[in-house]
Every structure is written in C-alpha cells, then in structure tokens.
Amino acid sequence: MGIFEGLINGFSIALQGYNLIFAFVGCLLGTAIGVLPGLGPAATISLLLPVVYKMSSPATSIIFLAGIYYGSMYGGSTTSILLNLPGEAASVVTAIDGYKMALKGRAGAALGIAAIGSFIAGTIGVIGLSFVAPPLAEFALRFGPPEYFALTLVGLLLAVFLSGSSIVKGLITLLIGLLLASVGLDPMTGKVRFTGGIIGLQSGFDFVTLAMGVFGIGEILYTLEQSLKGEIVTTKIGNVFPTIKDFIEAKWAIIRGSLIGFIVGILPGGGAVVASLASYAVEKKCSKKPEEFGQGAICGVAGPESANNAASSASFIPLLTLGIPANASIAMIFAALLIQGVTPGPFLVKEHADVFWGVIASMYIGNLMLLALNLPLVGIWVQLLKVPFGILAPAVVLFTCVGVYSIANDTFSIYTLLFFGLLGYFMRKLEFEPGPLPLAFVLAPIIENSLRQSLLMSGGSMAIFFTRPIAATLFGIFIALVIAQGLQSLRRRKRSEVSPEITTGEFNTAFVKLSTGNKLNGKG
C-alpha cells in the first residue's frame, strides 16, 4: 500500500463517527490533564487502559489514547504560562519564559503562540510520520540484537547529554534507573534477581508507579516545600491572538522547534521532554537577544512548545516500526496495542494497516480539533486552575494513588509509589534532573537483552558490534558524541579558570536554572 492510498484508507477510518468522537474526547481529556499539574498523560492513559479494553477495534483505542497524549502537549503550556507550574514534564521549559511573559501582561500572546506553534509543529510531525514510518518499518527488520543495543545506548547517552545540568549527575541518575530495572525477573532466563525475598518485587518495579512517584509525588512534595507563590495570572490574559510582530519573531523558532522535535522524537529515549529542552537551548543560541531568555522571550515559548508537539508525533515512529517505546506515555500505548492483540514492530504497518493509517489520519484531524479547543477556549481551561494548590495537591495525590493501585490492584504499589515520590523529591532537592531515570528504566531490559543476545550470537566476541554496518555506524555516532562532550567539558573547564562565574557553560545554563528551582518556587 502506497503512502497516499494508505492515508486515504486512514482517513476513511478516522472519519467514522465513533473514531471522530473518541479522537475528540481524547483531545479534550488530553488538554484537561495537560492543564492540571501532576496528572500527566502517562498516568491518565494508564487509568484508561481498562476502558480501552472494551473498545471494539484497536484503531479506535489508539486514536483515543494518542489524542490524550498529543492533546496534553497543547494543554501543558497553559499552566506553565499562567501558574509557573508545568502541567506535564514536556512543558517545564515553557514555564521559564511563558510565566515571565504572563507577569508582564502578555499571557494571551504566550498562550496563543504556544497553541499556534503546537498546531504547526504537530502537523509537520504527523506529515513526517506518514512519510518516514513505512519505509523505516521495512528497514527495521535489519535491526538485530547488536543494532538494538547500539541504538538504545546512543539514545540513553543523548538523553543524559541533553537533559541534565551536570553530566555526572545525569549518569548517576541513569545508573539508578538501570539498577532499579534489574530488580525482578531476569528478562532472558526468568530467574529472580535482587528482590530480597519480597514477593511484590518479583515482577520488578512497575514503570507507571516509578514515573508517577518521581514526577507526580516528588514534584508535589518539592512544590509544597517551596513557597506557594504560584499565583494564577488570570486577570490579564487579554487577547489570545499574538500580534503579527510576535508571529514574525517566533516563526523561525516554530520551524526550528518542529524540526528539532521531530528528530529528537524519533530517537528512542527522545520524546517530548528532551525535545523541548533541546529546542530552548538552540533558540537561546540562535537568538540575537539571548539576554531576553528567562525574562519573557516569545521564542523561548514558541520553540519548546513546537518541539514537544512535533516530538510527540515523531515518538510514534520507533513504536510503530521497531516496537521500542520512547517514553512513558508511548509505553502505555504500547501496552494498549498489546491488549488489542496488535504487536508493535516491523510488521505493524503491513499487518495492521487500518490501525497504522487510521491513527495517523486521526492525528491530522486531532491537531485541528486542538487548535479550536485551545485558542478560543483558553479561558475555560483557566477556570480549572482556580482550585487552590492546597486542595489540588492532595487531589492529585489521590488520583495518583488510585491510578497506581488500579494497575495491579495491589497495595504494594502504593508503598513503592511513596518510595519513588521520596526519591523524586530528594533528586529535585539535590539538583538531579529526573528525566533519564524512567528512560533508563524502560530501556534497561532492551539494552541488557540485546547485549547478551549479541554475545550469544557471536560466541562471546565483541566484534559483532563493529562488523555489522548499522551497528558500527551507530557506535561511530556514540563515540563521536562522547568525544564531543569531552571536548566541550574541557573547554568549559578552561573558561571557568578565566571567569569563575561561568561554570556550567552556555548550553546548560537554562537547565541549571530549571533544576535549581526557577520554575516552581516563584523566587526566580
């Protein structure tokens, strides 16, 4: 089936009544949970898995869940801008300049550019997805264990380089993630490891519990400790349509953000969070007025918001072609596909063409719906935020606990949730960027398995990683990255000898501010 035939077929599925309804409900829910801090797309999707179970076709259920996922990328900006409190992780960067803009009385322009940027980027992302995924799926069969090992290793390393204020701390986080993942059954032999005799640990830590604890509970604990200054800037939202001047200023940021988002989104371990961080760094570098960043630069909103939307579409690519989920939410959609009897992987495009194209077509439609939901209706979403944080926080904790409990109907999950919440809290307090933790956790079994499988295949020889062209290329990139990063930190050290204030380098300053609490404590 050609791409255009496929798309036409896809639209015929996506435009069916119930699919349209579920796409709309998904987008609506996505926006709502994007707006509400604490309850991210991963948590919501996990809560809705039982509902999906009862749906008649896999296409419908994925259309619904995908709508929640990319919808939350739109909604996330609202809270970041108005409350300085990111609705979900990928909107963390938006808070830096978006909230400043709101304080200056330009909340409307910030919200508007975020919605328009998201629409453009989302659409670019889906177009990319339609054209890149099918040929990539054909290609994906050539990925054996050595290639998977190389790919996941590079993905993890990229995530550390891109998301942390400190490489060392990033690597420590990564190692914690890998260690946590090794608890439970050995993925290859089924032997029990590191459970200390606790039955609840036999299946290992649950990914959703980990993500909810580190991001949800950890975030709330940290926020409560800080002064609760996040006043909602509701009085001065004003016109949500940005001026022509704003748009001209932001147009390249949107285009750059879309491209960065798309490329980062394809990488396993990429996803929306890394994309928005990368875009912010790039915008700051490209800007003629970098001093405006952190003070309310419109490009600092437009770039990351576009990037996270493009990435959310692009992150479907590794899922649908390789069967590798790039992030927490996609991991949930992976689970939903399995529930419906569809195994994501190189054969999905061929064997489940209706699912593949139906979901893609629904994304074109969903992006349009979201533009309508977000631009004129932003005032309604703001009403959601009038709930004081003192009430919202316990409510979110309640949702999180219920969500975690409902996954396996097991109280043990709530204790592990609490454990991960404390872990997340201390990580934030000690300025560790939590991003690489869940990522390492998801990718650990793939890394471990593919390494062991490769060595079994080669009879123990490491040459297998360098004699196969795809693996060798990937390792080439990996080594180049390590060298580049090494050079950068060397240069940085030299510079810091000259002027002691610049200790972290240009590229990372934004993230330092982030992790030192610029985003939530309201002091910055």
Partner: protein, 349 residues
C-alpha cells in the same frame, strides 16, 4: 507571610495523611482478603451451601492481556453464558512471569468462583523444576479441564536455504557452524525443544532467549538467527505471508491447526515435547461437584461452533480433556519435562 506558611504546612500534612490513609485503607482490605481463604479453606463450604454458581465466576489470566492464553480466555468468555447462568469475568494478573497470578489463585477460596487459565504452561510444567516458586503445580491446584495445547512450530526465515530439518542438520554437521536459534524465554518450551534437537542430533544449537515470542520471531524473520520457533498464532501470519517457512512441529503427533507440518519424529529426529498446555484449574480443595459442573460447561464450550471458529482464527487446536484425564495427563507431562530438563542439563544461569 505567616498565613502562607500555615497553608504550606497544611498542604504537606494533607498529602502525608492521604498517602497513609490510602495505603493503610487498601492494606486493610487486602489483608482481610488474604486471611479469608486460610480460615475457610478446610471447609470449602461456600459452594456447597446453595446452587452453584450464584455469582459471576472470575477467571485469572496470570499474564498481561493480549497473549495467547488471554485470547483463549476471551474466546471462552464469549460463549460461556450460552451454557451457564452466571457469566465469567476475565481478570489479568500479570507479574513475575505468571507466578503472581498463580499464587493469587492458590490462596483464593476454593469455592469455584476464582479459577486460573493457562494451567500447564511453562510456569507449571517447566519453571518450578528449574527454580523455587511459591506454589506446587501438582498439589496446590485442582485441574478442571484441558482446553488446548500450543505446539512449537519450528521455522526458518522465508528466504532460508533450508527446506527441511534434515537439510539444516546436514549443514550444521558439515560446516561445523553453531546454529543460532531464536527462542521466547529460557523457561519456555521453544528453548527446551531446540536444546532437545541439538542433543539428539549432535549439532551445536545456541538458543538465544528473548523477552517473549513476538521478539524472538521478529529476530528470526530479520535473519539474525538461523532457526527459531513459536506458537501457532505467533508464526501463522508470517508463514502465510512467506516470511517464515515451517519445518517441524514438536508434539508427538501433528498439530491439528497445522496438519501439513510434519513432526520431528517423522523426520527421523527422536524428540518430542508437550508444548504449552492450556488448561483451567481451581485452588486445591475445590468440591468435586463444582469441578464437575465447570468441566461440563467447558466441554460444551469446546464443542460450540462459535468457539471453534475463534480458536481456528487463533491457530489454537481444541484438545479438551475432563478433570481426571487431565490430571493424569498433567502428571505425565510434568514428569516428562522433568526428565528432559535433567537429560538436557538445563539450568538458569
């Protein structure tokens, strides 16, 4: 300032309280659930008090939704109400590779309202002979009925040079090269089959374990391994599309879902296995009249045309057996796998 601080402390307190409340509250509930069966286990009264069944019956699938055992459960659910006044509810309890779900059923009330499907899979016939599990597959469950057996279909990629098992074995013997084999897991039947073939033919088969059948099959189709295998529903679509070529089936007799594929024995390889047995069991101590009632319903289910149709689409042959027969079969298969594990010297590294 002062007020703000008060709010902050209040908020923190509320969060802490809520977490404790929820954890404590749920803990209490599950504690009573766990205690209940131990008190009533000896009596097994609940079922005998009135007419069974009085309420919906829960069937635990000890795996995540979407697998072949889950699919079998759903196929049963679909036609169940034609033959029983109370419906069945399918509950997935994945975790610890099927161990947690089994433990849950073991500790449930033996009143016929909590059953397990997949009794006879690797976690019952193979796993417990390799490592300690919190249940005894022979003593902790009452077999009700065998529904199906998933054989392992041994395949090579569609573009492979090998057209039969003999060609593959001859090649391995003359070239002295190791034969890499995609297998689902180390405790799975495919692994045992591959090792068994290596043992009886004297060729060097290197099983490469994966995290499940789907991944093993994808690696095989990509040509990253020489041979591999999987259950019917895993390989059938690929066989039809020409991406895989079936060479043999590992059962003592041909698989009714793949009548054209010869057994290993037919090709002169003196080895067979019992595949993955898909039966239904209840906790030990379930009253006989309940077991007989359920076995009767399942017998009718196995003869239902709609059920036959779904099983055909799943490439799962229907191989029904009643309680007594199934218990005998189970013991036989268990001992056979025990002997294989010993002969092949299989251990978990």
């Amino acid at each position: 300032m002062y007020r703000k601080k008060a709010w902050r402390i209040l908020g923190l307190l509320m969060v802490a309280l809520l977490v404790l409340l929820i954890a404590g509250g749920c803990g209490g509930k599950s504690a009573t659930q766990n205690n209940a069966p131990s008190q009533e286990k000896k009596e097994g009264t609940a079922a005998t008090s009135g007419k069974y069944p009085e309420k919906p019956i829960t069937i635990i699938v000890p795996y995540a939704a979407g697998g072949s055992t889950d699919a079998l459960a759903r196929a049963i659910e679909k036609v169940w109400t034609k033959y029983s006044p109370q419906p069945v509810m399918i509950v997935n309890k994945p975790g610890a590779g099927g161990v947690e779900g089994r433990e849950f059923v073991k500790t449930s009330k033996p009143d016929g309202y909590t059953l397990m499907i997949g009794y006879g899979s690797g976690e019952d016939l193979i796993g417990p002979q390799l490592q300690k599990v919190p249940y005894d597959p022979l003593k902790d469950f009452t077999p009700i009925a065998r529904m199906s057996i998933h054989s392992t279909i041994i395949c090579v990629p569609g573009n492979s040079q090998f057209k039969s098992m003999q060609e593959l074995i001859n090649w391995a013997k003359t070239s002295k090269q190791p034969v890499t084999a995609s297998v689902s897991t180390a405790t799975g039947n495919v692994n045992i089959t591959m090792r068994g073939i290596g043992k009886v033919t004297g060729i060097n088969i290197v099983p490469i374990p994966h995290q499940g059948g789907a991944q093993a099959i994808t690696d095989l189709i990509g040509g990253h391994t020489i041979v591999g295998g999987g259950s019917g529903n895993e390989v059938a679509p690929h066989i039809q599309a020409g991406r895989l070529r079936p060479l043999a089936v590992d059962l003592p007799e041909r698989d009714p879902a793949f009548p054209d594929v010869p057994t290993l024995k037919e090709q002169g390889i003196n080895f067979y296995s019992w595949g993955s047995v898909k039966g239904i069991a209840a906790p030990a101590g379930t009253p006989k009249e309940v077991v007989d009632y359920l076995a009767g319903v399942l017998k009718k289910v196995s003869e239902d045309p709609e059920f036959k149709e779904s099983m055909k689409n799943l490439y799962q042959p229907i191989l029904y057996m009643g309680p007594e027969e199934y218990q005998k079969f189970f013991k036989e298969a268990y001992d056979y796998f025990g002997k294989l594990i010993k002969d092949l010297n299989i251990t978990l590294q």
